[in-house]
């Protein structure tokens, strides 16, 4: 971020008292209770989809909202993790937890390579570089023999957790997915509120000053990039097991755009915004799936409206109303 422009990702960055604010604990608790009841009321696969995208968007938000780095290529991590997990579960016959771990590690490695190159440029160049590398991964997935080209990897077995608990039942799988996603969200919360997270926000708000204070800015940027890529990968891996499918859609640039939209709509730099954004967009896609290209037009329209009139996002606006960081 350049110094001259006004700080735009605020709303959550006021000085916070030591310790976890009580209202955050309450929101997390209420969220958990709601998510425990949800699969008995709604279709479990639908909520699992929301959960996976909530983790994906929160991972992007860690980079964008708190690191100030707009990655337009996060589908690369989501998608390749999804492919690795699908391949590990289907061809190698590994148990789901190992398959998800492998996918996450693959995404982390990819994040290390792409991140190390991308952080050499700033601002919009950073966005273009990440987008271009993601497209390279897409072409790779299109041609590589193990990805199945246009068909993707289909009929991925969900397997038995730890070799003991069969996950074929949607409800059983739901609680595994909930554990993974909730764990991921808590990890992101912890990262944001650690000393590391404070330095990150300092870099976002004023990079030259952070450099002059002696922080190795590029190391922080790379670290947060790798963390964000790993968590995006974890979301992709989980998604591969839920839908038993890894396909080119997961690595295409439209996926990168969608996750940016979720973060923007929910509220960049807020803790719960990406979750809300993911829920809104996934619900919208589900209800309007039969309208074909109208979904794309609607998403574009939401982008335009969000940028022009609604830059704080849903949660950002609520946070301003109640005068508390969310």
């Amino acid at each position: 971020m350049s110094v001259t422009t006004e700080t735009t990702y605020t709303s959550a960055s006021q000085a916070m008292p030591i310790g976890t604010p009580r209202h955050h604990i309450i929101i997390f608790a209420v969220l958990l209770v709601l998510l425990l009841i949800a699969p008995f009321v709604l279709y479990p696969v639908f909520i699992m989809k929301i959960l996976c995208f909530a983790l994906f968007a929160s991972a992007l938000n860690l980079l964008l909202g708190f690191g100030g780095l707009l990655s337009f290529g996060h589908a690369a991590f989501f998608g390749s993790a999804s492919y690795v997990t699908a391949h590990a579960a289907k061809v190698w016959g590994l148990t789901p937890e190992v398959a998800i771990l492998l996918g996450t590690v693959a995404a982390a490695f990819l994040g290390l390579v792409i991140g190390a190159l991308a952080i050499r440029r700033q601002g919009i160049y950073f966005a273009m570089v990440t987008l271009a590398f993601a497209q390279m991964i897409f072409f790779f997935a299109l041609q590589a023999p193990f990805t199945g080209g246009e068909d993707g990897i289909q009929a991925v077995p969900r397997g038995d957790l730890f070799g003991l608990i069969p996950l074929a039942n949607d409800l059983t799988l739901y609680f595994v997915v909930l554990t993974i996603v909730f764990g991921g969200l808590l990890a992101i919360y912890r990262i944001i509120h650690s000393p590391f997270g404070q330095v990150l926000k300092a870099i976002r708000d004023n990079e030259p000053r952070s450099i002059s204070l002696g922080y190795k800015v590029n190391r922080y940027k790379l670290a947060v990039f790798v963390m964000s890529a790993s968590l995006a990968g974890m979301a992709g891996s989980t998604k591969a097991l839920v839908f038993q499918l890894a396909s080119l859609t997961d690595v295409y640039w439209t996926m990168s755009g969608e996750v940016v939209l979720m973060t923007l709509l929910g509220g960049m730099g807020t803790i719960f915004g990406p979750f809300v954004g993911a829920a809104v967009i996934v619900t919208m896609q589900n209800y309007f799936a039969s309208f074909g290209a109208w979904v794309t037009i609607m998403q574009g329209t939401i982008f335009v409206i969000s940028v022009l009139l609604f830059r704080e996002g849903i949660v950002g606006v609520i946070s301003r109303w109640i005068k508390k960081p969310l």
Binding site: L70, R120, G123, V129, F133, L142, V307
Partner: protein, 295 residues
């Protein structure tokens, strides 16, 4: 006839020509991006969609109004450029006081809307646009067969690129433009209407994209997705060249097109990723880009 590394010269020159044609489009599009970026400081993500609009408006002009190719070459950039002016006035101009990333997000949304609208209206199968009769057929150059239209694409792109370079670097209007890029406030103080210049610059950049679209219509099938993947490659071209210099954008565009063509001859599997690999190397060696000023 000589052979080079076991590659028949027809294949080599054929791919070089293809590379040159791709390079013509890379150059035109990255030139438009560079012109817009210079003054507006935003990356125009809808550039690919506007290129696609150029091809579609040419097709609609021919089908519904009977406007021939040569007419389209002039009219279509004006029409699409005018939509660009409207977009700049209504939307982009509201974002100048914000971080540049918002411009990128806004134009990404616009690209989604434009693509979705054309996909709804015309499907994704692609529409044919025939080569104008004056340019059909080909010429035998002795070492290869050159389809006339493809030769024309390269010539037209070179002409427009050179014209743009000349207008920006060698005319009074271009001098105002370059001055406003350096310091808009001071230029405004000298009595030049900078906001109007910004609007027209955006319109001009969009018109360049539409011109490329008309050029592309007879070669590629006219379909709503034609710009989406192309623009990402053009972004890589822009990162490699750096957006500081007009001439740099043109040279990088043509150069990378040729490199891509050569990769198709010698190592076809890598041709779709060649430009991205070059981008990675440039980021390692010269992060600001080949012609870029250090940001």
């Amino acid at each position: 006839m000589f052979e080079l590394l076991g590659i028949p010269p027809q294949a080599l020159f054929g791919q070089l020509l293809l590379g040159l044609i791709n390079g013509s489009f890379y150059a035109l599009l990255s030139l438009g991006l560079a012109v817009i970026f210079g003054l507006l400081n935003i990356i125009n993500f809808s550039h690919g969609a506007q290129y696609m609009m150029g091809a579609f408006v040419a097709w609609m002009g021919l089908t519904y109004l009977g406007i021939p190719y040569w007419g389209a070459l002039v009219v279509v950039p004006l029409v699409v450029g005018a939509t660009g002016v409207v977009i700049e006035r209504l939307m982009i101009s509201r974002l100048y006081h914000l971080d540049h990333l918002y411009g990128l997000l806004l134009t990404f949304g616009l690209a989604l809307i434009i693509q979705g609208l054309f996909r709804n209206g015309f499907g994704v199968s692609g529409l044919p646009y025939s080569i104008p009769p004056q340019l059909s057929g080909g010429t035998n150059l002795g070492f290869m067969f050159l389809p006339n239209y493809r030769g024309w694409v390269v010539v037209a792109s070179l002409l427009v690129c050179f014209g743009t370079w000349f207008a920006i670097e060698r005319t009074r209007l271009g001098a105002y433009l370059r001055a406003a890029t350096e310091n808009p406030t001071l230029v405004g103080a000298f009595g030049i209407n900078v906001p109007r210049m910004i609007t027209l610059t955006y319109g001009f950049g969009v018109a360049l994209a539409a011109f490329a679209g008309v050029l592309a219509a007879p070669i590629y099938s006219v379909n709503p997705n034609m710009g989406a993947d192309l623009i990402i490659v053009v972004f890589a071209v822009v990162v490699i060249g750096g957006m500081g210099s007009i001439l740099g954008a043109i040279l990088t565009g043509f150069g990378l097109g040729i490199v891509e063509g050569l990769t198709k001859v010698f190592y076809p599997e890598a041709s779709s990723v060649a430009i991205f690999v070059i981008m990675a190397i440039v980021l390692l060696v010269k992060p600001a880009g080949l012609f870029g000023r250090t940001a």
